[in-house]
Each structure stands twice: as C-alpha cells, then as structure tokens.
C-alpha cells in the first residue's frame, strides 16, 4: 500500500513537470497562430495526465477525453449549447463534412473545428508518448532536446520571444532528468524506493541546478558570436534582399527580376508542350528598366492593359511576317503559369474556353488570359503567328531617325553604371558602321573573350556593385541573365534602343508527326535574351548567351559579295540551338498567400488522378511489408496481448523465459550459442539500465540447472518479465 502511494506521488511529480514543459510548447503555438482558449487546452492536458497517472481503463479514458473535446468544439465553434441536441447536430454535421473533405483530398475546405480536433488528438498522443518515456524508458532526454529545438527555432524565425521559455524548459528538464536518473538508479540496483534515500539523492542535484541556473541568469552575457543567420537563410530561399555572397535558387520562370545573380539548381518540371514545325524561342514579356542589380517593368503607359478577344489580331511592338507564312502552334499547358507563350510574329490566340479575354500588359507585353476579370490558366491554346523576315538591305541601311518615345524608354541606364562598361561597348563596335553591325559585334563579343557559361558559382553583385559590370570585368562566369543584361546595357550605352526579353528556349522534341513536332519545354528552358531596335526594321532579337542560338530570318536581298562570310554562317535559319542547361532564375513562390494557389493545384491533381490514390495504397502496402520485415519485434507483443497473459509459475517459467529470449533477439539483442544466461542477462541489463534480466535469469537458472526451485517470488518475477517484454518490444 505504501509502495503504491509512493509510486503515485512520484509519478505525479513527473507529470507536474511535464505539464509545465508542455505548456511551453503550447504558448508559442497559441501566440503565433492567434488561437485562443489556451486555458481550456491546458485543462485538457492536465486531464489526460491525470487519467494516465491513475491508469484509468482506456474505454473510460477515451470517453472522458472525447467528451471534453466535443464540449470544447461545440462551445468554441458554435452558438449552440454543449451537450444539447443542436450541439450534437453541429458536431455530427461538422465531422461528416470534414470527413468527406479528407476523403476527397479537399484540404482547403477543412474547418477550424476539425483542425482543433486533430490538435487535441496530437496532444493526446504526445501525452501517451511522454507516459511511455517516463514509466518504461525512464528517459525523457529526446523530448527535452526537441522542446529546446522547437522553442529555439520559433524564437529565431518568428516574432515569438522564447528567451525565458528556454530557461524554464532547461530548468524543468534538468530537474526531470535528475528525478528519472535517480529512479533508474533505484531500479538498476534493485533497491526499494523510500523517501529518505530519494530526497537524499535528489537534494544536492536540485540545489545545484538552482544555484547554477540563478548564477547563469544573472551573469553578464556576451553578444552573439556570429551574425544573425536569418537574413542569410531568407536570401538563400529566395526571400532575401540584395546581399553579398552567392545564393542558390531553383530554375524556372519568375516574375521578380529585380535582383539577378546567384547559382541555381536544375528543375525538370515540364511547363508546356508545344506542337510546331520548327524549334523556336517562346516569348513571354520584356522589361525595360535596368536598375544595376536587375530588371524592372516601367509604367510608361498609364493604361495598364490592352484587351483582346480570342482570334483578334493582337497589337504589339514586334514586326509580323507575310500572310502566306502564317502558321499555328498548339500549346498544352502543363505547369499552370498564367501567361501566354508565343513565338515571334504573333498574330492571334485561340482557345476552346469561351469568354476568355486576353489582357496584354502595355508595358511588358505579357499576355494573360482572363475570365470574368479573373486571371485564369488555360489548359491549352493555339497561337497563330507569322515569323518576320528581315530584309538584309534594310538591316544594313544607314540610320533613320528613331521615334523619340522609343529612345526615351529604351536607352535608360542607371547613373551608377561604371564608365568602363561604356568604354568597352565603344571598343567592341569600333569599325562597325550600322546599328545592326554594331549589335552583331556585341552579340559575338561574349563568344571569344574568355566568358564561361555556368549555372553554379555565379556571383550576386554586392551593394555598390553593378550586375553587368561585375559580369563583364570581374567574374565572366554566368548564365543567360548575365549575357542578355550585359548586351542590353552595352547596346543602350552606344545609343541603340534595346530591351530585355524573357521566355523559354525551344525545348526538346519528344514526338514527331509529319512536319509537326511536339516540343517539351521544362523549367530548365526558361531563358532571357535581347531585342534591339534597328532603324527601318524594328525590334530584332539577339542571342548573346554562349551555347544558345536564336533564329532570325534574314532575306539576303543584296549581292552575295557584299555579305561578309561569318554572317551567312551564323544567321542561318533553323540552326538547331545547341543548348546546354537553360536558365533564368525565378524565385519559387513560397510566401503563404501564394501558397494557397499551389495548394489548389495539388488538390486538383489529387482529385483528377485515381492513380494517385492507387499508388498511395500500394505505398501503404509496401510500408506494411517493410514494417513486417524490420519491425517484427512488435508482433510478439501484439500476439501476447491477444493470447492473454498466462500466469507465471514453475510450469510456465521456461516458456516465458524462452519467449523473452526470442523477443530480445528480434530487438537485435541476440544471445550467442556459447554465451551463458548470466552473461547474456548482464548484457541486456546494461543495455536497458536495469537489473530485471539478471533477477529473472537467476530464478530461471535455478530452475534449469538446479535440483529444484527454491522459494520464488513469482509476482516479482512477473514484474521483471513484463518490464523486459515492454522494453524488448520497443
């Protein structure tokens, strides 16, 4: 009787400590998610702890906890009185709708009440685990480590201030650990617990903890030894401001080009499938303002959008080829970017979707499909286009006056642009008369002056550095953004209007049907290049990036002799672009409000494919098989549970002992054939930090090797056995 009381008092001390540690988990969650009713949740924790303290039968425990959760949910989420008929209706209805949402994988429509329910279940499980750690493992170290990590991470990355919470947890944890250590010592030595010894053992360490903690709190502390890691991590994940050093992004089409530079990793996500006769670049938009760190879209035109119906001739700034050269291309959208991609010479866009309007951003000429004023993603559409052919004679014609508005807009350069960039541009074009020749010279410049194409180890300009200047003079290593931006800046510096174009390179042929090939365009094909305004001709595309070839169709209407040799070679149409990896970094949309969109897509794809469910099912099956193979140690425990516990006496001693050996073997503690039981028992006890195995083995040895079993306390043996089985079953 006395022993039982002692046990309860001891356990309740642990539970009080655990309660306060769990409270430290709860506080930041409540604070950060703006959840209320903290006290009610704390009461639930206390309730669960009390239930587990008195080992109340699980049916009663489930009923009590279930009732509490229901009461909480009805009280907080509905106007009805708890435990009334309306309350019950509310509950069942809520449960039903959420249950169907879960089945349909419609995660977004799960209600807060259901989330609360899950949260309660989580707490429930956590308390079960804590109970296991305390009573069976007698070691709660990992839980404490996780707690400290949790609070430290929240403290570092959120507005939650955990400085005091960490101190509290460490204090409570140290006390808890010493309690458990003493408990283990008692168990190991097989000593009956009694208050005096207990307190005697614990007093010094608790005093010591108190002393050191208070000294530690009042001691002056040095400021951090290293800089705050948060900005670095943020910039690494693409949320950052401009900073020094290199960061890594994922390749893909992004909207934000204000800070270019940095390495990226490849991403094979397919974006579009395009059916077309030839491989060609796919435009998305242009940008015109160079900021010395990257590109921005100006608001040159005040009216933001031009609106077109499908089939309308789309009015844009690029030249269009002759009517008889008109072609169409079917674009299938795989990754839901909300813009229309189009080849050079775009005329119009068709789609099966009725009521679609095409909004073209006047400044960037980015085309977005819109239904009822809401941006949408078309699953497929057809672009009609005719590629422009430039007359060679026009290209080479001496300058004609360029419109002032084009000059104003496309000759912009930041004041901070270093002079050496301008000097370099002038040096490159030395001897070239016409703007086209000058542009060609700059386009070719990168190919032979020690520049290297690389997606890794690409620098980001520091605060006072210019992106183009850094690339041209310091690093000479980079990808399309570096090359294209540099060319635009150099063109502008010598008075040729130019702009920065974003889109996708041609992709890979995955299917061929007569003249028509299907091109697969992935995020790896995201690309940027250059358009220069050539007098008499208009916008002409250029490709300065090493390893890429753009096609422009030129009609050599002059005498062959007048063309210079290298030009004929390079401007050949339909030169297969020999791309390596394609580039154009874009930060993945990671922020929360954009995340919901991603969520919708996930949900959609989930509902679309029953194969996914099937594969999940298969995955679960595989998991079960793997568990069966590697976690077989669970089986004996389950088996014994079902079989019911036989009483332990002389006749069943051997059976019990051999079972135990088997379970330990499954756990990986195998007795070697030549190992005596005593030696094995010592090994087991050392592992579990007890002396139960030795005790149990002593009795068993007497039974096996002795003449007859002397008086044995089978109740005590049973206790040892159960403990060992529990430990053995993990």
């Amino acid at each position: 009787m006395k022993r039982a009381t002692f046990k309860y008092i001891e356990l309740s001390i642990y539970y009080v400590l655990i309660f306060f540690i769990l409270r430290e988990w709860l506080v930041p969650i409540m604070q950060l998610t703006g959840t209320g009713h903290m006290n009610l949740i704390l009461i639930f924790i206390a309730l669960s702890l009390v239930i587990s303290l008195f080992k109340i039968h699980f049916i009663i425990s489930w009923i009590v906890k279930g009732l509490y959760i229901s009461w909480f949910i009805v009280r907080v989420y509905s106007d009805t009185a708890p435990f009334s008929v309306e309350g019950f209706h509310f509950l069942t209805h809520d449960l039903w709708t959420n249950f169907s949402s879960v089945i349909l994988a419609d995660w977004t429509s799960i209600t807060d009440s259901f989330r609360t329910f899950l949260f309660f279940v989580l707490i429930w499980m956590l308390i079960y685990l804590v109970h296991h750690w305390i009573t069976i493992r007698m070691n709660i170290f990992y839980f404490l480590v996780i707690t400290v990590f949790f609070i430290a991470i929240l403290d570092t990355f959120t507005r939650y201030d955990g400085s005091f919470a960490i101190v509290k947890v460490v204090l409570l944890g140290l006390i808890m650990t010493s309690f458990l250590y003493v408990k283990r010592l008692f168990k190991q030595a097989g000593i009956q617990k009694d208050w005096k010894k207990y307190i005697l053992l614990l007093m010094p360490i608790i005093l010591l903890i108190g002393l050191t903690s208070s000294v530690a709190i009042f001691l002056p502390k040095a400021s951090p030894q290293w800089p705050d890691p948060v900005p670095f991590i943020k910039s690494a994940t693409g949320q950052g401001e401009v900073g020094e050093g290199t960061t890594v992004s994922k390749v893909g089409y992004g909207d934000d080009d204000e800070t270019l530079g940095g390495s990226f990793v490849a991403d094979d996500q397919v974006v579009f499938l395009a059916e077309a006769e030839t491989k060609q670049y796919w435009r998305v938009e242009t940008k015109d303002v160079y900021t010395s760190k990257g590109w921005e879209k100006s608001d040159y035109f005040l009216n933001e959008f031009s609106v077109f119906e499908q089939g309308d001739r789309i009015v844009h700034s690029l030249p269009i080829g002759p009517e008889d050269q008109t072609k169409t291309s079917l674009i299938k959208v795989v990754y839901p970017y909300d813009f229309i991609i189009h080849p050079y010479g775009l005329k119009s866009v068709y789609t099966e979707e009725p009521n679609v309007e095409l909004f073209m951003d006047s400044n960037s000429e980015k085309i977005t499909p819109v239904i009822n004023t809401e941006e949408t993603v078309l699953s497929n559409y057809v672009v009609e286009y005719s590629k422009p052919t430039y007359l060679y004679s026009n290209l080479k014609k001496p300058t004609e006056e360029i419109d002032s508005f084009i000059r104003e807009r496309y000759l912009q350069l930041p004041n901070s642009l270093p002079d050496r960039v301008v000097e370099l541009a002038n040096q490159i074009i030395k001897g070239k008369e016409t703007p086209y020749d000058q542009a060609r010279a700059i386009e070719d410049y990168f190919g032979m002056n020690g520049f290297r194409y690389d997606t890794e180890n690409v620098a980001i300009p520091s605060k006072d550095q210019d992106y183009v200047d850094q690339f041209l003079f310091d690093t000479k290593v980079g990808y399309c953004d570096n090359f294209s931006s540099s060319m635009v800046v150099m063109l502008r510096s010598i008075g040729i209007p130019a702009r920065w174009v974003k889109g996708f390179a041609g992709g890979e042929v995955i299917d061929r049907n007569g003249d028509v090939s299907t091109f697969e365009i992935t995020n790896n094909d995201a690309h940027s290049w250059v358009e220069a305004y050539i007098p008499n001709v208009g916008w002409v595309n250029f490709e300065p990036t090493i390893g890429f070839t753009n096609t422009r169709s030129i009609d050599y209407d002059l005498e062959k002799t007048e063309t210079d040799q290298d030009e004929t070679l390079t401007v050949d149409e339909d030169t297969e672009p020999e791309e390596t990896v394609e580039k154009e970094t874009g930060s993945e949309e990671t922020t929360a409000h954009k995340g919901s969109k991603l969520f919708e897509i996930v949900t959609k794809s989930l509902t679309q494919g029953k194969y996914i469910y099937l594969s999940i099912l298969i995955l679960i099956l595989i998991l079960i098989l793997v568990l069966l193979k590697y976690r077989r140690k669970w089986i004996p425990k389950l088996f014994m549970k079902f079989k019911g516990n036989q009483p332990l006496d002389e006749s069943s001693l051997e059976k019990h002992y051999l079972q135990l050996l088997k379970i330990l073997e499954l756990q990986g503690i195998k007795r070697k054939e030549g190992q005596t039981l005593t030696a094995f028992a010592k090994e087991v006890d050392q592992k579990f930090e007890t002396n139960d195995m030795t005790q149990f083995t002593l009795a068993y040895e007497e039974f096996v090797y002795g003449e007859q079993l002397s008086e044995t306390d089978f109740a005590k043996l049973k206790e040892c056995w159960e403990y060992l089985i529990n430990r053995g079953s993990g």
Binding site: E654, Y657, L658, L661, K672, E673, G674, Q675, T676, L677, T678, A679, E701, E702, F703, V704, Y705, G706, E707
Partner: protein, 314 residues
C-alpha cells in the same frame, strides 16, 4: 559467497595482494579434493600462497624442496632399522601431511616426481609392502618454473593429469607491488595469520561439495567441451574422461564457493581453461604458429552450445 570459504580467501588476501583469483582457485581445488600446479617464475609468491592457505585452515603444513638429487624416499619416507628394538621403524616422509608444498617439482628426477604423483593420486604411500593412508585433508600444491628454464625435467602428460588445476600467478601490478613492499617492510604478514576454519569444518565442506547438484544438461555441456578438444586439428592429444570428471568436481566446488547448490554453465566456462589447459598437448606445428591452449579452449567454449532448457532424456 559461502561465509566460511570467504573467510579463508580473505585470510589469504591479507598476505597475497591482488591475487584473489589464485586464492579462489586454490580453495576450489582444496574443496574438490584435488591438487594444484602453480606455474610461474620464482619470486612471485607461489610459496607464500601455499603457506597462507595452510595457515588459514590450521592444517599441518609440510614443504618439500625438490632438487635433482632428491630421492623418492626423501618424499614418502623410509624404514630405518632401530638397533634398540631390532626392528625396522617407519620414518614418514614429508608427503604424510595435510597441505604439502612441493616446490619446484620439475627440478627433480622423473623417479622422484612419480613417487610424489603416485601418492597424490592414491592418497596413500606404500613402503615395504605396507600401505599407509594419508590423513585427510590431503592437498598438494606443486610449483614449477616454466619448462623453458634450464635444468628442468618436464613432467610427463600422464602425471600432469593428476593435478586438478594448473594456475599461473603472474606479476603484480605496480600499485600492488608497492603494497607488497609496504607490508613486508617491518615484518612478514604471514606470521600473523591465524586459522579461520578447523580441519573438521573443512572436511565437512568437502563432503558438501560432493552433494552440489549437477544437472544432466550441465554434465553434457562438460562432455561437449571435453569431446571438442579431441577433434580439433591443432591438438595432438585431447582431454581424457578423467579430465571431464575433474572439471565437474571443480565446478561443484566453485558453485559451493558461490554458496549455490547447483552448477551453472558459467562455472564450467570459467574453470575449463584451468582444468583442461595442462591436459591438452598441442601439435608442434601449432605451437610454432603461435597457437596456445588457452586460445583454443577459448574458441571451444565460445562455440559450445550452452544448455538453456532442462535436460530431456532422448
């Protein structure tokens, strides 16, 4: 641990520092009624060990220093003609005692060796057709220098078989040696030892040892180990059934020492090297390869299947 036995060992420990294992094994042999062969270089305390043991059990202690010219009659005694009585009178030799230290046994001739060993086995001496029983307890502790030393007559295998255990003393650790010096600085501790058990109690203990239960499963474990020694390629000659009996007896005594009334495989495992070690003859080539009997026995024991169920008659 058995109280009386522990008292003996503690008594010995007063003199012998850091040699508890040797003391324990010696007592095991004493309890089992067997004899001990102590092997090591001179000066590590072999003699001291035996003297301390003899003093602890208040037994008659005799010592025979073996030399090359020692004769059998110097060991077992001799009949001398008494002119007064006109009769031959038997003068008992040193072997007729309780605890006998046979020092440097391998220094004497085989003739004398066998006289000693014969009386050890029979526990009696025969002189002029008269057989004299040696009073119990009879416990011989022979010491020998490692056979590599010069001027020795190695004991033949058959005679080694007469010793229940062969024990090596080994050097003390530095700390232990300092303690040895400290204790012997003023006077020898051995003189202050007093007996802790009477002859009668000792004899009673010896009887009790015989009744220590050995389950058939453990017996078969012993036999398993013994048989294994006979089929190993490096071994020229394995152990005899007499060795198996010796191992069982020693295990019984060891169990008694632990105050246990049954033998465990642990006892067998622990004692096997001491009981079997000197009864195995390695093939010469194995010896050249650096294989030792201890190593081989270790392997055998590791592989022998420990019984973990009650013996089932098949």
């Amino acid at each position: 641990m058995h109280k009386q036995i522990e008292a003996i060992i503690e008594n010995i420990e007063k003199v012998m520092i850091g040699k508890r294992e040797v003391a324990e094994l010696s007592v095991v042999a004493l309890l089992a009624g067997g004899h001990v062969l102590l092997e090591d270089v001179p000066g590590v305390g072999k003699t001291m060990m035996v003297r301390a043991l003899a003093k602890s059990v208040s037994a008659q202690f005799k010592r025979i220093q073996f030399t090359p010219d020692l004769l059998p009659s110097d060991v077992i005694g001799v009949s001398v003609y008494n002119p007064k009585t006109l009769q031959f009178e038997f003068r008992p030799g040193p072997i007729l005692g309780n605890i006998i230290l046979a020092d440097e046994i391998n220094r004497t001739s085989p003739k004398t060796q066998s006289a000693l060993l014969e009386s050890m086995e029979e526990a009696s001496v025969t002189i002029d057709g008269e057989t004299l029983q040696i009073t119990k307890p009879f416990f011989v502790m022979a010491t020998q220098n490692p056979i590599e030393y010069e001027g020795t007559y190695p004991l033949p295998e058959a005679q080694l078989d007469r010793f229940l255990l062969k024990i090596k003393m080994g050097y003390p650790t530095a700390q232990e040696e300092v303690e040895v010096l400290r204790r012997t600085q003023h006077n020898e501790a051995i003189h202050q030892l007093s007996p802790v058990i009477s002859i009668e109690d000792l004899l009673e203990l010896q009887e009790e040892v015989k009744s220590v239960y050995v389950d058939d499963s453990v017996k078969s474990y012993i036999v398993q180990i013994a048989r294994a020694t006979r089929s190993i390629q490096h071994i020229y000659l394995g152990v005899s059934p007499r060795a198996s009996i010796a191992l069982m007896k020693a295990s019984q005594a060891y169990a008694k020492m632990q105050d246990r009334d049954f033998v465990k495989p642990d006892d067998v495992q622990y004692l096997a090297p001491f009981v079997f070690g000197h009864r195995i003859i390695l093939k010469p080539e194995a010896r050249y390869e650096g294989i030792t009997t201890d190593g081989i026995l270790g392997n055998i024991i590791e592989k022998a299947v420990v019984p973990i169920k009650r013996y089932a008659q098949e």
